[in-house]
C-alpha cells in the first residue's frame, strides 16, 4: 500500500528526515517509536503532504501512485488521514461544522457509532479544539480521522497527554480501525498505548531522522524500556 524510498525531508532549510525507507502493506499496523525530536512527526507530515515540510529527495508511492508532491487534500481523497499531534484551536469554527463537512466529503455512514465510541458528542457544539482537555483533543482528532474511513491512518502521538480512561478509548478506536481494514502508522515516544493494541505488525525505531531498526514488537519494545532510546541505538551500532 505504502512504499517510501530514500525520503529526505527538510523544515526551514534543515534536514529532519534522512533517507527513510518504509513499506506498509494492506491492513498492517506499524509503530514508529523514538525520542522527542527524532523526526517522527515530520515523517508523518511529509506522508500527508503538509506544506510546512519540504521533501528534498526520495519518493512516496501510495497504491503504486507517486504522491510525493501531491497536495494534502488530494492525499486525503486517496484515503490517507493524519491525526495531528497538536491540532490547532480554531475559534468560531464549530467541531460539528467540520464533522458535517467531512461526512459530506467522505460519505461515512457509521459516524454516530464512532462518536459514541470516542465520546465526542458533547464536544460538537464547541469551537474546534478551543479549551479541549488533552483527552478530548486526542479523541476528537481521532474521530475526524475515522470519519475519513482511511485506507492509511497516520496517528501522531495519540497517547500523549491523556488519562487512562481516554487511553483505553483511543486504543479501542485504533483496534476498530484495524478491524475495519485500515493500515496504520502510529507514532509514539512513550509506548504507553502499545500494550492495549490487539495487534502490532512491525515496530520501527527512529533516531536522528533515520529508521535505525525495524522488527517485531516483542523484540524491540522490552529493550527500549530497559535501555532507553539512546542505549538501544548504541547497542544496535555495536552489533
Amino acid at each position: 500500500m505504502l512504499k517510501v524510498t530514500n525520503l529526505e525531508v527538510c523544515v526551514g532549510g534543515k534536514k529532519i528526515v534522512k533517507g527513510v525507507n518504509l513499506s506498509v502493506g494492506d491492513n498492517e499496523l506499524h509503530v514508529i517509536i523514538g525520542p522527542n525530536g527524532s523526526g517522527k512527526s515530520t515523517l508523518l507530515s511529509a506522508l500527508m503532504g503538509l506544506p510546512r515540510v519540504k521533501i528534498c529527495s526520495g519518493s512516496i508511492l501510495f497504491n503504486d501512485v507517486d504522491i510525493t508532491y501531491t497536495p494534502p487534500y488530494e492525499r486525503a481523497k486517496l484515503g490517507i488521514a493524519l491525526a495531528h499531534q497538536n491540532p490547532p484551536s480554531i475559534r468560531g469554527v464549530k467541531f460539528s461544522e467540520v464533522v458535517k463537512n467531512m461526512i459530506k466529503h467522505c460519505g461515512c455512514s457509521d459516524f454516530t457509532i464512532m462518536s459514541k465510541m470516542l465520546r465526542v458528542d458533547d464536544l460538537m457544539s464547541r469551537d474546534l479544539f478551543v479549551g479541549f482537555s488533552g483527552g478530548e483533543r486526542k479523541r476528537a482528532e481521532l474521530y475526524l480521522v475515522m470519519l475519513q474511513n482511511p485506507k492509511l491512518a497516520l496517528l501522531d502521538e495519540p497517547d500523549s497527554g491523556v488519562d487512562v480512561e481516554s487511553l483505553n478509548i483511543i486504543a479501542n478506536a485504533i483496534n476498530s480501525l484495524v478491524r475495519r481494514g485500515s493500515s496504520i502508522i502510529l507514532v509514539t515516544h512513550s509506548g504507553s498505548i502499545l500494550s492495549k493494541l490487539e495487534r502490532v505488525d512491525r515496530v520501527h525505531l527512529m533516531f536522528d531522522g533515520s529508521i535505525v531498526y525495524s522488527g517485531i514488537a516483542d523484540e524491540i519494545i522490552p529493550l527500549v524500556f530497559k535501555y532507553g532510546f539512546r542505549g538501544i541505538v548504541e547497542k544496535i551500532k555495536k552489533s
Binding site: 500527508m48 494534502p72 486525503a76 466529503h105
Partner: protein, 402 residues
C-alpha cells in the same frame, strides 16, 4: 433661522468619510401607499436580503415611495404602530416630540439635507408599555433607479418594560449602479425595555451610504444591535451613538465584508452616562479586492460603568486596507474600560490542518473566514438568526471566490 443655518451646513463636507456632491443625485416626490402591491418584482428586491416572503415586511420604502400595509393587523393586536414617519407626524401628537431630538439637523450636510428635502419618509415604530412583541418587525429600504438619493428618517420608540426586534434591510437590486442613501435613525429604549435591532446592507459599487443614528437607552433598558454589510459600495460612513442611562446596557456587533474599491468607515460610539451601565462593541471586518475599511469604536465613561471594545480584522488582499481605531475614555474613577484590536491573515497552520482533512484550499479558507466572522446571535429569534447566518455563509464563500 434653522433653515438658513442648514443651508450653510449643507455646503461643508462632513468631518469623516469621502465628501459627496448632493447635487449629482435626483430626488423624487415623496409618496405613501398603504399597499405593498404597487411595485413589481418586490420579491426580487427583498430576496437579496435573504427574505423572499414580502408579507413579512411591515414597511417598505422604494426610492421615495413608502408602503406599510403588511402585518399591520397582526402588530396592531399588540398596540404596535408601524407607519411612515410623515404620516405619524400628521396623526400622532407624541411623534413630533421624538423627531430631530437625538440627531440634530445641524450635525452635518447629510442630516441637513434630510431635514430640508427628505419629506420625513422613513418608518415610525411605537411599542406601547409592557408589551413583548412576539414577531420581528421587518422593514426594507431600497433604491431601484440610478442616480437617486433616498432619504429615510426612522424613529423607533420601545416604551417602558417592552421588548421588540426590528430588522431593517437596505439595498439596491441588481442593475442599479449609482445612488445615495441617507438614513437618520432615532431610537428610544424606555425604562426596563429592550430593543434588538438588526440592519443588513447590500448595496452596489457606485452607491454612497450615510446613516446617522443615535440611540437613547433609559435606566434599566437594553439595546442590542447587529450590523452586517456584505456588498460593494462606493463609500459607507456611519458612527452611531448609543447613550446609556443607569443600569442599562448595550451590545453592538458589526460584520463588514469589504469588496471592490469601496471605502467602509463604520463604527460605534457609546456614552456610558448612568451608573452601572455597560457596553460591548464588537466588530469583525474582512477586506478583499481594493477595499478600505476603517473600523472605529469609542466608549466614553462618565459614570461608574464598564465597557469593552473588540475589533478584529482579516486582510485577504494585498491591495486592501484595514484601519482599526479603538478609543476608550474614562472621566470617572471606578469605570472599567478595555479594548482589544488585531488585524491578521488566515493562519497557515489552520489552513494546513483543514487541508489535511480533505478540504481544498478555497474551501478551507472559506471555513476559516466563516469562523472568523462568527458572531453571537443568541439574542435574535431563530428565523432572523437563520437569515443572518445564511448571509455570513455567503460572505465566507464570496471572499474566497467560491
Amino acid at each position: 433661522m434653522l433653515s438658513s443655518k442648514l443651508l450653510e451646513v449643507i455646503k461643508k463636507p462632513a468631518p469623516i468619510g469621502p465628501d459627496i456632491d448632493l447635487s449629482k443625485y435626483e430626488l423624487g416626490e415623496p409618496k405613501i401607499y398603504s399597499s405593498l402591491d404597487v411595485v413589481d418584482e418586490l420579491n426580487n428586491i427583498t430576496s437579496k436580503l435573504g427574505i423572499e416572503d414580502t408579507s413579512k415586511f411591515s414597511y417598505i420604502q422604494i426610492n421615495e415611495n413608502a408602503m406599510y400595509e403588511a402585518l399591520r393587523n397582526v402588530l396592531g393586536n399588540y398596540g404596535v404602530k408601524v407607519i411612515p414617519l410623515k404620516k405619524a407626524l400628521e396623526e400622532l401628537t407624541y411623534a413630533k416630540d421624538l423627531v430631530w431630538r437625538l440627531v440634530s439637523p445641524e450635525t452635518d450636510k447629510y442630516t441637513a439635507a434630510t431635514y430640508l428635502y427628505g419629506g420625513e419618509l422613513g418608518y415610525f415604530i411605537y411599542v406601547p408599555p409592557h408589551t413583548r412583541v412576539p414577531i420581528p418587525i421587518y422593514s426594507c429600504l431600497a433604491i431601484t433607479s440610478n442616480k437617486k438619493v433616498q432619504f429615510a428618517h426612522n424613529v423607533v420608540y420601545v416604551d417602558e418594560g417592552s421588548e421588540a426586534q426590528v430588522i431593517t434591510g437596505c439595498l439596491v437590486p441588481h442593475g442599479v449602479k449609482e445612488g445615495l442613501h441617507i438614513g437618520i435613525s432615532e431610537f428610544y429604549v424606555g425604562r426596563g425595555a429592550k430593543l434588538t435591532f438588526a440592519m443588513i446592507h447590500s448595496w452596489a459599487e457606485g452607491v454612497h451610504v450615510r446613516p446617522r443614528t443615535t440611540v437613547d437607552v433609559a435606566p434599566g433598558g437594553e439595546y442590542v444591535s447587529y450590523y452586517v454589510i456584505y456588498s460593494p459600495v462606493a463609500s459607507l460612513q456611519t458612527f452611531p451613538l448609543t447613550i446609556l442611562g443607569s443600569d442599562s446596557k448595550t451590545s453592538t456587533t458589526s460584520v463588514i465584508a469589504g469588496s471592490g474599491r469601496g471605502v467602509y468607515d463604520v463604527g460605534s460610539k457609546v456614552l456610558l452616562s448612568g451608573d452601572n451601565s455597560s457596553a460591548e462593541v464588537i466588530s469583525k471586518v474582512v477586506a478583499t479586492d481594493s477595499s478600505e475599511i476603517y473600523a472605529r469604536s469609542d466608549i466614553i465613561a462618565e459614570s461608574v460603568s464598564k465597557g469593552h471594545v473588540e475589533c478584529l480584522g482579516l486582510l485577504l488582499s494585498p491591495n486592501s486596507k484595514i484601519s482599526s481605531i479603538p478609543s476608550i475614555t474614562s472621566k470617572k474613577p471606578g469605570a472599567i474600560l478595555s479594548h482589544e484590536a488585531a488585524i491578521g491573515v488566515i493562519a497557515e497552520e489552520e489552513l494546513e490542518y483543514l487541508m489535511s482533512k480533505g478540504f481544498k484550499e478555497d474551501e478551507a479558507k472559506s471555513v476559516l473566514v466563516r469562523g472568523f466572522i462568527d458572531i453571537d446571535l443568541r439574542g435574535l429569534p431563530p428565523t432572523i438568526r437563520y437569515e443572518i447566518e445564511k448571509i455570513l455563509d455567503t460572505i465566507a464563500r464570496n471572499v474566497v471566490g467560491i
